[in-house]
């Protein structure tokens, strides 16, 4: 059943192309704003680049996850979904994994412009950078999917989503910045592995909480 739900998420996006496109346009706009306004040396930009990158990802995630849940509200499709005789935790998992896929695709597209426009060097170990980015994306989407599920039933969901999400996802963004900074500087992984453990803990905690609580938080 999880695969049916995941396929639904991917197919919906394939048909509408609203989610990735809006994330992409917003992400590229932020990169351009960074590029044209950061009138400082390359060394300083390189120091701030990980934080700038993950801050951009945070804003883009809010946009994407809001869209992912708002099309559930159109024509009350979410009611059909939760009234179906399925484990509602699987709905959370499908939102989580599909969000992870969309975010990763968006990141893959914006990463090269990010480095090129900000005139900074690519990380010395690109595979490690990619692997940790995937791990961080999982954590961001674990939090975002749960918060969106809570917010979507509220009347002011557009306001509630960032208000709830920014504080909860901040530890992930801080850890992500530390990890990416370490990788960009070529530090040994022991220097930043604690942040990776924090990300892992967030994935486990929010994954379990989301899967367990989605049955209740989705009801009006």
């Amino acid at each position: 059943m999880f695969l049916v739900l995941l396929k639904k998420e991917l197919y919906n996006e394939f048909r509408s192309r609203e989610l990735i496109l809006s994330m992409l346009v917003f992400g590229l706009s932020i990169i351009l704003a960074y590029a044209f306004t950061s009138d400082v040396s390359r060394v300083i930009v390189a120091n701030y680049a990980p934080g700038m990158f993950w801050a951009m990802i945070l804003f883009v995630t809010v946009l994407g996850i809001h869209r992912s849940f708002s099309y559930e509200k159109e024509m009350d499709a979410f009611s059909m979904l939760i009234a179906a005789p399925i484990d509602r935790g699987l709905i959370y998992l499908s939102k989580w994994i599909s969000g992870f896929i969309f975010l990763t695709v968006m990141e893959l597209i914006v990463t090269i412009p990010f480095f090129k426009f900000l005139l900074i060097d690519f990380p010395p170990n690109p595979l490690m950078a990619l692997g940790t980015a995937l791990f961080i994306n999982l954590a961001i989407m674990a939090v975002a999917s749960l918060v969106s599920g809570v917010a979507m039933r509220a009347r002011l969901s557009e306001v509630l989503l960032p208000v709830l999400m920014f504080p909860l996802v901040s530890p992930v963004i801080i850890a992500a910045t530390k990890i990416s900074g370490g990788i960009m500087a070529g530090d040994h992984y022991q220097l930043w592995q604690i942040w990776l453990l924090i990300i892992g803990s967030i994935i486990v905690i929010f994954g379990l909480v989301g899967y367990t609580l989605f049955d209740f938080i989705t009801e009006e």
Binding site: K8, R15, Y71, M80, D87
Partner: protein, 211 residues
């Protein structure tokens, strides 16, 4: 088949449903009537577990519907005001998905056949975002025709339908009644209520009054 005991629901501390108790027997059609805002749709959404209630118990086929496993609502089909489907997908894709979520593997040919019967063949591959209200009602009717259920909860099934659509809905309800399927309908039209309902339950001031 369905037993509702002492069900209550409030919005902003204003009670909408207060101590609602009723039963629906197998093969019975029960029609809910009442003024706008009386709580008819709220009741149906609670029974479908889309909305949480404040207190009360709902048993469906001897299983606790509110606290039981998801399989407890397998025989229950809810069709609300809206289509309950995805605007970007076509009728065929939406029906295929909705039926898969109910554990059914219905062939595309069967889905197209049902869509043809309900007059949606020409638009079967169009995204349902461009459908009119009446077409969406026909789509819901097709879904009810294809899905397996033992109790159908339908909220204002005739709204938005043209004469042909209303005839199709009328025929479908009579067909289901003749097959001894259980129906729970929310209607505003007194004549239709008397025509389809074995019993009419009126919701007034949050309480049920049988007539």
């Amino acid at each position: 088949m369905l037993s509702v005991s002492h069900l209550s629901k409030s919005f902003n501390r204003r009670p909408v449903l207060a101590n609602i108790t009723f039963e629906i027997a197998a093969g019975e059609t029960v029609v809910f009537m009442g003024k706008n805002g009386a709580g008819k749709s709220t009741l149906l959404r609670i029974l479908a577990r889309i909305m949480a209630c404040d207190k009360g118990e709902v048993r469906f086929q001897n299983q606790d519907l509110l606290k039981g496993a998801p399989t407890a609502r397998k025989g229950l089909l809810y069709l609300g005001h809206a289509s309950g489907m995805y605007s970007a997908l076509s009728a065929v894709e939406n029906l295929s998905l909705a039926l898969r979520l109910r554990g059914m593997h219905t062939s595309k040919e069967m889905i197209i056949e049902a869509l043809t019967h309900y007059g949606l063949f020409d638009q079967k591959d169009d995204p349902i975002a461009i459908y009119s209200q009446g077409m969406l009602q026909r789509l819901k009717l097709t879904y009810a025709e294809l899905a397996e259920w033992t109790l159908l909860l339908m909220d204002e099934p005739f709204s938005g339908l043209d004469d042909d659509g209303a005839k199709l809905m009328h025929d479908a309800i009579l067909q289901w009644k003749s097959e001894a399927q259980s129906l729970c309908l929310v209607l505003h039209d007194e004549a239709k209520g008397k025509l389809y309902g074995d019993r009419i339950l009126r919701i007034e001031n949050g309480e049920i009054q049988e007539s």
